[in-house]
């Protein structure tokens, strides 16, 4: 029992409620939300340290022991993602101060971000599958409000689709939970894992697992990604960056958790399906990224490609591939936020999101240009940046398991990521300068600062791989050996 486990979810929740009451005081709102996020970052790193030394931490609410009450379980995998999510949220909030305009900020922007983070952190930490549904809904409701924030016509049109698809997939989630409860009589994930092992993964359970796969694929944009480019390209940059970095990754987390802890007995069915879906996602995302010349669309399709890549790791399900996928997941949360922020800054200075209307930006904004270039290299997986290690580990494992098609697809898609973004870079930064010095929009340091921090992080994650290796190894170990998780939850 460790009460600290609940804090990453509760601190944003309380802060969010507090911020609702501070609506009139913008300055105070900014200070409170920055402060709360910083505390949360510190706390999640502290928890990560504790897990490293003392093993998985659990919390059973109200003292109801494991299978009966709701448990929160903090293992390395969850906490790595909690840390990442908190840092990304802080940076996106800082970026929003200068860019999102006061009108939106007064519409409870900061409170909604806190609620979103509460949902995200809750989803990472919960050890109960129905509670996962609830935290998903907390996150989604905040995201519904954020995506419509400001209510421009395009935002409204796109958010209708986003909400409709998520409401339907939430119903599917409940259907899957209902069947699982009917079959196994429990909802605690550790207890579910034990029961599935006892009775064997019968065909019925496999069918239920596929319903879960559909639900989480919808949320994480695996194969069923058609809603994503539209809805992620409409909100203001800071919100789009948060969505691109966090929301789909929660779905990916849920897939990793359920298909390594619960449904891992029939890999020739479930994991083959995941592999095929990942392959098709890679192809589809690449086609989308190639097809558009709108910067927002290109960037959004790049989110889809990365999701496909991570799920290749889950489909292979072995130590190397898992570690690779976890490295890549953490890397992608940072770098996707960075990519969205930079693309948004480009749109901010030119007031255009069409590639062919922008050129020669490197003269006006050299720092922005070079940061964009580093981001591209990082996404393509060039050492010493953070994308490298994940790609290598997944690649090695794909060769070992003779999954040549997945190997080819994932590395070809890396090339396409490189191509599509270099195309943006060459179009927008090279060529004739279109902005004369007089009408140059000044780019204050406070807008660039969050991106600079993210660039530094991608360097640190790339060069300092040794530093986070113990945590990632531990996370992969727990995912591959469900007994570690089960013992931690059920023993006490």
């Amino acid at each position: 029992m460790n009460n600290a486990v609940v804090f990453p979810m509760v601190i944003p929740l309380i802060t969010g409620v507090l911020l609702v009451f501070l609506q009139a005081h913008l300055r105070l709102q900014r200070i409170v939300s920055t402060l709360a996020l910083s505390i949360n970052i510190g706390l999640s790193f502290y928890l990560l340290q504790i897990v490293r030394t003392a093993g998985i931490q659990t919390l059973h609410f109200g003292g109801w022991e494991a299978p009966f009450g709701i448990s929160f379980v903090a293992d390395s995998f969850a906490l790595l993602l909690v840390c990442t999510a908190n840092i990304v949220t802080l940076l996106c909030t800082l970026y929003a101060f200068r860019t999102i305009r006061e009108r939106r900020e007064r519409l409870y922007f900061h409170a909604l971000v806190q609620f979103l983070l509460a949902g995200v952190n809750g989803s990472f930490l919960t050890g109960d599958i129905f509670n996962l549904f609830v935290t998903f809904e907390v996150m989604l409701l905040a995201s519904y409000a954020l995506i419509t924030l400001g209510a421009s016509e395009r935002q409204l049109k796109e958010s209708v689709k986003y909400i409709a698809i998520n409401v339907v997939s939430s119903s599917f989630f409940l259907i899957a939970i209902a069947y699982l409860y009917g079959l196994l009589g429990t909802l605690n994930m550790a207890h579910l894992s034990v029961r599935i092992e006892e009775v064997g993964q019968t065909p019925l359970i496999t069918v239920v697992s596929i319903v879960f796969l559909i639900v989480f694929s919808l949320k994480s944009a695996l194969l069923l990604y058609q809603w994503l480019p539209g809805s992620y390209s409409t909100p203001p940059t800071a919100i789009a960056a948060l969505f691109g970095a966090l929301l789909t990754k929660v779905g990916v987390y849920a897939l990793f958790r359920t298909f390594s802890l619960l449904f891992y007995h029939e890999q020739q069915i479930t994991h083959v399906i995941i592999g095929v879906m990942a392959g098709v996602t890679l192809v589809g995302g690449s086609m989308g990224a190639l097809a558009y010349t709108n910067i927002r669309q290109v960037v959004s399709y790049n989110v889809v490609i990365a999701i496909g890549f991570m799920l290749v790791g889950l489909a292979l399900l072995s130590t190397n591939a898992m570690e690779g996928a976890i490295y890549y997941l953490v890397h992608d949360m940072f770098v996707k936020a960075l990519l969205f922020l930079l693309a948004g800054t480009m749109i901010y200075v030119t007031s255009s999101d069409k590639m062919d209307e922008i050129s020669g930006l490197i003269r006006n904004y050299p720092v922005l240009g070079w940061m964009f270039f580093i981001t591209i290299l990082s996404l393509a997986g060039i050492p010493p940046l953070s994308g490298f290690i994940g790609k290598v580990l997944i690649g090695i494992d794909a060769i070992e398991q003779r999954a040549y098609i997945l190997l080819a697809l994932s590395f070809l898609s890396s090339l396409i990521v490189l191509y599509t973004l270099i195309r943006v870079f060459m179009n927008c930064f090279w060529g004739e300068t279109i902005i004369s010095e007089e009408d140059e929009v000044t780019l204050p340091k406070s807008i660039l600062a969050p991106s600079i921090v993210l660039v530094i992080i991608t360097f640190i994650l790339g060069i300092g791989v040794e530093g986070i290796a113990p945590y990632v190894t531990d996370a992969a170990e727990t995912l591959l050996h469900p007994n570690i998780y089960i013992d931690a939850v059920l023993s006490k």
Partner: protein, 112 residues
Amino acid sequence: METLMIIVSGVLVTVATYLLLTKNLMRIILGAAVLTHAVHLLIMAMGGFSGNAVPIIRRPGETYVDALPQALILTSIVINFAVTAFFLVLAYKVYNRTKTDDLNNMRGIHHE
């Protein structure tokens, strides 16, 4: 009783699917609401019925009903209520802004 519930739930899912596949925004919202109610009935059926027993164990040996599905349904109803309310307000806003509730007119980005 379970059989009846499953059939009712199936009928509701059919209705919901039909409503969700139409192009009118109001019908889609109603469809989503009906779908969640169908799921609630499914959860109820999954928990099993035992006559008119209550979910309280008063004396050992007395029949009682599993309380968990009811707790799940209650939670889900609350969430669904909030989501539907939000969705309705959004539909109203969209209608005010675009003067249409037809999804065909809400297509996203056109090809250049």
